[in-house]
C-alpha cells in the first residue's frame, strides 16, 4: 500500500516556501505575482492502515501547532484538490537513486513506533495558478525543481509503488580494446567518460597487449580514475616547456619545481626551527600548533557538480573537504570551514542565459544553502570566506571549500600494514557520483546536465557527523593503522592509494549498498558520500566493529591489503580486475606540454583615442566625482557586505570564536580574518584568511599570484598573526590548459608563488588544481537530440561542439593559516575611540590596473599592483611587533577600493567619523588623486593608534614607509582632504551603499 501524507501550513500560518517560489518566479520574470501554495509530503509504502499512518503523520512528520495534515492512499483525489485560485498541482520528487536523507530518517523513526515502512520518499508540492501554459515547464525547471536530481510531475502522481531498485545480474564485461584503432580508442575514451588522451589509451592498449588479453570494464575505469587530472594532477605535475617574459624553462614536474620547491627552501633555511610537519603528501598539509597539537588545512574545489546542482554540489564539496582532515594522519578533528565562491553577477537577465546554464542568482542561493546545511549540521564553524563576481563564471561557477583540523602530534602519521583488513566506514554505496573524478577533469557543456547527472551527489551531513564521532574515538583507542577518505574515485581511489605500496584484494559483493542493482564496476567507482576507509589489524577488527555498532555507524570489512603488489577485485567469486599497482600508479605516459606567456600590453593610456583620453582625464584631472566613485566601489559586488551569506553559517559552534567574520559597533563590519581558539582551555589562536584577485590576472598572472599571497598574509597580520608562522595553500582554477597560452599563464602564476613565498618565508603546505573550467554553449538541436539518447555508461553519444568555449579568468585562491600566542592581543578593523590617530603603513603607487576604481568607472589599462616581497616581509614584521606590543587599536588592510574604501569601512564599522588628509601619504613619485585614494598597491594597512602610543608605534615602524594621516572623530562623517576637500560623506550613506546590494 502506498500512502501519501501531505503537510500544509495551518490556517493563518505563513507559507514560507510559497513566498520564496513567488519571489524567485518574479526575479526570473516568469510571473510577476504568481499565486502559489506549497505543501511538503511523504510517500510511505508498507502494510500500514490509515490510523497508523495518521499517527505517524501527527506525531512524527508534522508540527501540529503550526501545520495540518492530509492522509490518503496515493492517487486519492483528496490529495490533489486545488485551493482557490490555483489551477495545477506540481509534485517535485528526488529522482530514483538520488539521496533522500529525510526519507531515510523517516524510515528509521517509523520503526521506532514499532511500525514498518518498506520505502519512503519525500516530496514538495506546489499548487499554482494564473500562469501562461508555456511558462509552466519553465517554472518547473527554473524554480521548482532541478532536472539534475529531481523530477517535477504536473497533476496527479500516477504511480502506485515506489521503485526500490531491481536485482543486479552479474555479467563480466570485457572491453575489446586490443583490436581498436586510434579513432575507436578516442571514441571509447569520450563515450565511456574516461576522458583519457589518445596516448594514454594507447598505453593501456599496449599494456594489455603484453598481457595478451582485453581489460574488463572495471580495470579500464580504475586506470581512468587513477590517471585522471583530478586524482593525478598530470598537467601541473608533468613536463612543461615554458616560454615567458621571464625566459625559457623546462620543467620535469612543474609543481615540484615551483611551489613545493619554495616550501623545501623555506624548511631548509629554518633548520631545526622548521614548523612544517607534513606537506603535499597527505590529504591535508600539517603544521605545528602547540606542544600537544598540530593543525591541518586543506582547500578543495567542487566546481562542475555545483554548476549542475548548486545545492548538492556545494553540500558535497564541503562534506568532501571535511573528510580530508579526517583522513589526514590518523584523523584530525575538524575545527573550522572556509568557503570562497565565484559567480556571475546575480542580475544577469534570465533571457540571456545560454541553454543548460542555471541563473547565477539561483546558483549562489543554492551554493550558500548547500554549504550552510552541511557545515552547520557537522557542527563546524564556517569562519572565513569571500565571493567574487565576474561574467566569465556564468557557465562555470567556482566553489572552493576549506577545512582546518586539529590533531594530536603523535597521531599525525599513518602506516597501513600488509594483511590489514580494508574496512569501509560510514555511508552506504549507491549509484551517486559515478564518474565524478573523470567528469571534473572535463569541460562543461550545455549537455553536461544530461550527460553527467550521475556525477551529482547529495550529501547527508549526519552520516558524516556520526562517522566523525566514532572515528576520533577509534583513533584514540588505536583501533586502526591508517585512514583515508573516499573522495573522487570512491573505493578505487581510496584503496588504490592506501594499498599502493602493498597490494589489495577487495570483495566487492560485501560492500553495503543503498539499493539493489549496482554492478561491480559501479560499486568500485561510486563516489557516494560520507565514506572513509581504514586499515585495521585483524585482531582489532572486532573492537572497531563493536564501537561502530554502538553508535549506529556501519563498518564492513571489504578486503585485505595483500602483499602482492597487485590490485585484485572479486565479485561473485570471480576475479573482475587484476592490475599491477606499478602500472596503475607509475604507468601513465608522461604528458609534455607547451606553455607560453606574453603579458597583455597594458601601458598607461596615451592620447590615442577618445576612450583613452577619457581615462586620462578621469584619473588625472579630478573630473570625476570622488564621492560617487567611493559609493560605487562600496556597492560593487566584490566589496559589498556579505552579511546575508555569513549569518546563515554557524560561525561560533565549538565555542572557540574570537574574531568573528563581522565585527564592529553593530557587529556588521568586514573583518580581515577570523580568529579562533581551538583548545578551549588555552589562549593560543588560529587565524584564517584568504586572498584572490582574478581581475589582476587579465594584466599579468605573475602579479595576480603575488598580490593574492600578499593579501592573504596581510589579512592574517592585520588581526595580529605572527608573520613568521603563517602557512598558505594554493588552489588554481584555470581554463583549458591544453592551450599553451592558458597553461603559460598558470606557470607564470606558479613562478610568482615560488618567488614570493620564499621571500616572505611563508610555506605552501597543500594545494589543489582544477583545470578545464570552461563552458561550451551548444545549439538547441543538440540538446534535444541528447535527451533522446539511450542511457548507460558506454552508450551515450556526445556530439561535436560548435561554439566557442567561455573560459573562467585565471583564478588563484590563496588561503592562509596564521597563529597567535594569546588571542587577547588580536585587533579588529573597526574604529574604536575618538581622538585616536590614524596611520597609513606601506607605500602607495600608481597601480590602478585591475582596480575596483577602474571597474566601477569603466576604465581599462593601467599598472597592475606589484609586490616588493622583501619590503613586505619587513613591513609585516614591524606591524606585528606594534600590534603585539598593544600599540594598535584597530587595523585594516588596504585592498579592493584602496585607501578610500578602507577608511570608509573602518569608520562605519566603528560607528565613528574620521578625518584624513592625503598630503603625507607615502608614495612613489607624483601620483594623481585617484591613485592616492583608490590604488590597490599591496602591503598597506591603516592603523588606529592612541596618542599615548604614537611614539612607540612610530618607532616600531621606523624601517617601513608610514605616515600619520588623520584622526578618529566623534561624528558620523568621513572627511578626506587632498589639495582640496575630496570626500564629505555621511557614514550611514556609505554603510547603506555597502550593505544594500546583497541584502536579500
Amino acid at each position: 500500500m502506498l500512502w501519501e501524507v501531505d503537510i500544509h501550513p495551518a490556517e493563518g500560518r505563513p507559507d514560507l516556501a510559497a513566498g520564496e517560489v513567488a519571489a524567485t518566479a518574479a526575479e526570473l520574470h516568469l510571473a510577476d505575482d504568481l499565486a502559489v501554495t506549497s505543501a511538503r509530503g511523504y510517500l510511505i509504502q508498507g502494510e500500514l492502515d490509515r490510523a497508523q499512518v495518521a499517527r505517524i503523520a501527527d506525531e512524527l512528520l508534522a508540527d501540529r501547532v503550526v501545520e495540518r495534515t492530509v492522509v490518503a492512499p496515493a492517487g486519492d483525489p483528496l490529495l490533489t484538490e486545488l485551493p482557490d485560485g490555483r489551477t495545477h498541482w506540481i509534485h517535485v520528487l528526488p529522482k530514483p537513486g538520488v539521496m533522500d536523507p529525510v526519507a531515510q530518517s523517516a524510515m528509521q523513526a517509523i520503526a521506532d513506533f514499532g511500525l514498518r515502512a518498506e520505502a519512503v520518499r519525500t516530496m514538495r508540492k506546489y499548487a499554482v495558478g494564473r500562469l501562461a501554459e508555456d511558462r509552466l515547464p519553465l517554472l518547473c525547471s527554473k524554480v521548482l525543481a532541478n532536472d539534475a536530481v529531481e523530477q517535477a510531475i504536473a497533476g496527479p502522481l500516477g504511480f502506485e509503488r515506489l521503485q526500490v531498485g531491481s536485482p543486479y545480474e552479474f555479467k563480466l564485461v570485457i572491453v575489446p580494446i586490443l583490436a581498436m584503432d586510434d579513432a575507436a580508442l578516442e571514441q571509447l575514451s569520450r563515450d565511456g567518460q574516461l576522458f583519457l588522451s589518445l596516448v594514454e589509451m594507447r598505453t593501456i592498449q599496449a599494456h594489455f597487449n603484453q598481457l595478451g588479453r582485453d581489460p574488463t570494464d572495471v580495470e579500464l575505469e580504475t586506470v581512468a580514475q587513477t590517471w585522471s587530472e583530478h586524482c593525478s594532477h598530470k598537467t601541473l605535475a608533468g613536463r612543461i616547456d615554458y616560454r615567458g617574459p621571464d625566459g625559457e624553462r623546462h620543467f620535469e614536474n612543474m609543481l615540484k619545481e615551483t611551489i613545493f620547491a619554495a616550501t623545501r627552501e623555506i624548511r631548509r633555511a629554518a633548520g631545526d626551527r622548521d614548523w612544517c610537519v607534513s606537506v603535499f603528501v597527505d590529504n591535508a598539509g600539517v603544521i605545528r600548533f602547540d606542544e600537544n597539537y598540530n593543525v591541518v588545512f586543506k582547500v578543495e574545489t567542487h566546481n562542475h557538480p555545483s554548476a549542475l546542482e548548486p545545492y548538492g554540489g556545494a553540500n558535497t564539496g564541503i562534506g568532501g573537504v571535511i573528510r580530508d582532515p579526517m583522513g589526514t594522519g590518523m584523523g584530525a578533528k575538524p575545527i573550522c570551514n572556509t568557503d570562497v565562491f565565484c559567480f556571475a553577477p546575480p542580475d544577469v537577465p534570465a533571457e540571456e542565459l545560454p541553454p543548460g546554464v542555471l541563473h547565477p542568482r539561483r546558483v549562489m542561493k543554492g551554493v550558500v544553502a548547500g554549504v550552510r546545511d552541511y557545515g552547520n549540521r557537522m557542527g563546524i564553524p564556517t569562519v572565513n570566506g569571500a565571493i567574487y563576481f565576474d561574467p566569465r563564471y556564468l557557465g562555470n561557477p567556482l566553489v572552493y571549500c576549506g577545512n582546518v583540523g586539529l590533531i594530536p602530534r603523535d597521531k599525525s602519521d599513518k602506516h597501513p600494514q600488509a594483511n590489514d583488513l580494508i574496512v569501509a566506514l560510514g555511508g552506504r554505496t549507491g549509484r551517486d557520483g559515478i564518474h565524478g573524478a573523470t567528469f571534473s577533469s572535463a569541460e562543461l557543456t550545455s549537455h553536461s546536465e544530461t550527460l553527467s547527472g550521475g556525477a551529482v551527489q547529495i550529501g547527508n551531513a549526519i552520516t558524516e557527523k556520526m562517522l566523525l564521532d566514532v572515528l576520533l574515538v577509534a583513533r584514540d583507542r588505536g583501533l586502526y593503522n591508517a585512514v583515508t577518505d573516499c573522495g573522487a574515485g570512491g573505493f578505487s581511489s581510496a584503496v588504490g592509494e592506501m594499498g599502493e605500496k602493498i597490494g589489495a584484494e577487495v570483495w566487492l559483493e560485501r560492500v553495503p549498498l543503498k539499493y539493489e542493482g549496482l554492478s561491480y564496476t559501479e560499486i568500485w567507482i561510486s563516489e557516494a558520500q560520507e565514506r572513509m576507509v581504514v586499515s585495521v589489524s585483524p585482531e582489532k577488527w572486532e573492537k572497531l566493529s563493536e564501537l561502530c555498532a554502538s553508535e549506529g555507524v556501519e563498518a564492513t570489512a571489504i578486503g585485505k591489503f595483500t602483499p602482492t603488489g597487485r590490485l585484485t577485485l572479486i565479485y561473485a567469486e570471480q576475479k573482475v580486475a587484476d592490475l599491477a599497482m606499478d602500472f596503475l600508479h607509475d604507468g601513465r605516459p608522461p604528458v609534455v606540454r607547451e606553455a607560453v606567456y606574453t603579458p597583455p600590453k597594458n601601458d598607461e593610456c596615451g592620447m590615442m583615442n577618445d576612450e583613452c583620453r577619457k581615462q586620462h582625464s578621469v584619473i588625472h584631472h579630478s573630473s570625476f566625482n570622488i564621492h560617487n566613485s567611493l559609493l560605487k566601489i562600496l556597492g560593487s559586488l566584490n566589496v559589498c557586505s556579505k552579511e546575508w551569506v555569513i549569518r546563515q553559517y554557524d560561525h561560533e559552534v565549538q565555542g572557540g570564536s574570537v574574531l568573528k567574520p563581522l565585527v564592529g559597533a553593530a557587529n556588521d563590519g568586514p573583518g580581515d580574518a577570523a580568529v579562533l581558539r581551538p583548545v578551549l582551555d588555552s589562549r593560543r589562536g588560529i587565524v584564517i584568511s584568504c586572498g584572490m584577485n582574478p581581475r589582476y590576472g587579465d594584466f599579468d598572472t605573475y602579479w595576480m599570484a603575488a598580490s593574492a599571497i600578499d593579501e592573504a598574509v596581510r589579512n592574517c597580520v592585520a588581526v595580529g598573526a605572527d608573520p613568521a608562522r603563517i602557512a598558505i595553500l594554493d588552489n588554481f582554477c584555470w581554463g583549458a590548459t591544453d592551450r599553451p597560452e592558458t597553461l603559460g599563464s598558470l606557470v607564470r602564476a606558479a613562478l610568482a608563488c615560488h618567488d614570493v613565498a620564499v621571500e616572505l618565508g611563508t610555506p605552501f603546505i597543500s594545494g589543489k588544481d582544477s583545470l578545464n573550467n570552461e563552458f561550451r554553449p551548444l545549439g538547441k538541436g543538440v540538446r534535444n537530440r541528447l535527451c533522446e539518447a539511450p542511457e548507460g555508461p558506454f552508450r551515450q553519444k556526445v556530439p561535436d561542439t560548435f561554439s566557442e568555449p567561455i573560459s573562467i579568468p585565471p583564478s588563484l585562491l590563496i588561503s592562509a593559516i596564521g597563529q597567535v600566542d594569546d588571542v587577547a592581543r588580536c585587533v579588529s578593523m573597526d574604529l574604536k575611540e575618538p581622538g585616536n590617530l590614524l596611520y597609513i603603513v606601506g607605500e602607495t603607487k600608481n597601480e590602478l590596473g585591475g582596480s575596483h576604481f577602474s571597474l566601477v568607472e569603466g576604465l581599462s589599462g593601467g599598472e597592475v599592483p606589484k609586490v616588493d616581497a622583501r619590503q613586505a616581509k619587513t613591513t609585516f614584521a614591524a606591524l606585528h611587533a606594534a600590534i603585539n606590543a598593544g600599540h594598535v587599536r584597530a587595523c585594516h588592510d588596504l585592498s579592493e577600493g584602496g585607501l578610500a574604501a578602507a577608511i570608509a569601512e573602518m569608520a562605519f564599522a566603528g560607528g565613528l567619523g574620521a578625518k584624513i588628509s592625503l598630503a603625507d601619504v607615502p608614495r612613489n613619485g607624483d601620483l594623481p588623486t585617484a591613485a592616492l585614494l583608490f590604488s590597490e598597491s599591496n602591503t598597506r594597512f591603516l592603523c588606529e593608534v592612541r596618542p599615548e602610543n604614537a611614539a612607540s608605534f612610530e618607532s616600531a615602524l621606523a624601517d617601513v614607509p608610514h605616515a600619520r594621516i588623520g584622526e578618529v572623530v566623534d561624528s558620523n562623517k568621513l572627511e578626506i582632504v587632498g589639495e582640496t576637500p575630496l570626500v564629505q560623506a555621511d557614514l550611514h550613506a556609505l554603510k547603506e551603499a555597502w550593505q544594500k546590494p546583497l541584502r536579500w
Binding site: V65, V102, N376, D469, D650, V653, A666, N667, L680
Partner: protein, 274 residues
C-alpha cells in the same frame, strides 16, 4: 558542597556537547557525555546524575523537524525515566536543539488535555538559519533605558514592570544576558493566545529577547521556557558560547565583562546542589 554530576546527552548530530561540558566543568561540575543509545540500553544510568543537559546541534539531522526524532525516541522509550529524574528534584537544561527536544517531552510543558501540544518552535520568520547575538532579559522585565545594553541598537521604551525573581533555577539572579543564537527553527509559537497567557502568568516564559533583537519572530519575544517547578529550562540562545570574554563580538571594543554572560547559568545549576 556537593559536586553535581552532569549528564550531557548526545545523539547523532549533536554538536555542542564539548563546549557545553566545558562550561559546566568551568564552574566545578563533573560531566559525562553519553550517547542516547547507552541510555536506551541502560535507562538506570540516569541515577548517576543530578543534572541532565541536552546540548545544541542537529539531532538526527533535524530531518523531520528540529528535535523531532530524538524527542520521539525519548517519548517512546525514556519518558518514565525522565519524569522520575525530574520528580527526584534534579535539574534539566535544553539548549537550542535540546530545547526543541524538551518541548516534545513530558517534562517541560505538560500537555493540557488537548491533542495539540501547548507550544512549538517553528521556522524563523526569515525562513533561514540565522547566527547572531541577541540581548535577553529575564522575567519579562522591561528596561527603563537602553544604556545598560552593550549595543547602540535602540530598545523601545516600554513601561517599567518588575516581577519578582525568576522561577527558573538556571536564571536565578540574572537580569539580562547577551548571547548568540544560531538556529533555523527557533520561533516560539503557542497553540493559542490563552495558552500563551497561561504560561506567562505561571512564570513559565522567563527568558525574552529584547523586542528589537527578536531573531525569529517568536511570540511575546519568548527565548526560553521553564516548567512549573522551575527546575527544567529550555532556551534557544547558547549560554555555553559566551563564557569567555573573547567570545563577546565586541571584546576588542572593551565591551566584554570579566567573564561571559552565559557562565552564570551553569554556576546557578551547580550552586543549586551546594
Amino acid at each position: 558542597m556537593t559536586t553535581p554530576n552532569v549528564l550531557i546527552l548526545r545523539a547523532p548530530g549533536t554538536n555542542c556537547d564539548a563546549e557545553t561540558a566545558f562550561a559546566f566543568e568551568r564552574v566545578g561540575a563533573k560531566t559525562e557525555t553519553l550517547h542516547v543509545n547507552r541510555l536506551l540500553e541502560r535507562p538506570e544510568l540516569f541515577e548517576r546524575f543530578q543534572i541532565l543537559c541536552i546540548p545544541g546541534g542537529f539531532s538526527y539531522g533535524d530531518d523531520l523537524g528540529a528535535g523531532r526524532i530524538l524527542g520521539n525516541q525519548i517519548q517512546h522509550h525514556l519518558s518514565d525515566q525522565l519524569v522520575r529524574f525530574k520528580a527526584d528534584g534534579n535539574l534539566i537544561l535544553g539548549i537550542c536543539n535540546g530545547f526543541q527536544v524538551l518541548l516534545k517531552s513530558p517534562v517541560l510543558l505538560e500537555k493540557i488535555g488537548a491533542d495539540t501540544p501547548p507550544a512549538t518552535l517553528t521556522w524563523n520568520d526569515s525562513g533561514r538559519y540565522y547566527d547572531g547575538w541577541v540581548r535577553l532579559e529575564v522575567n519579562g522585565e522591561r528596561l527603563e533605558s537602553q544604556h545598560s545594553f552593550p549595543s547602540e541598537k535602540t530598545v523601545s521604551l516600554l513601561p517599567v514592570k518588575r516581577i519578582k525573581g525568576s522561577k527558573s533555577v538556571f536564571l536565578a539572579g540574572i537580569e539580562r544576558m547577551y548571547l548568540p543564537v544560531a538556529h533555523a527553527e527557533g520561533k516560539f509559537v503557542a497553540r493559542d493566545e490563552r495558552t500563551l497567557q497561561g504560561l506567562d502568568a505561571a512564570g513559565q516564559l522567563p527568558l525574552r529577547y529584547v523586542a528589537a533583537d527578536n531573531p525569529n519572530g517568536s511570540m511575546a519575544e519568548v527565548a526560553g521556557v521553564c516548567d512549573s517547578t522551575g527546575r527544567v529550562l529550555g532556551l534557544m540562545p547558547h549560554p555555553e558560547r559566551h563564557i569567555d570574554p573573547t567570545q563577546h563580538p565586541r571584546w576588542t571594543r572593551g565591551e566584554a565583562g570579566p567573564e561571559g554572560a552565559g557562565l552564570q547559568m551553569f554556576r546557578n545549576a551547580v550552586k543549586y546542589f551546594a
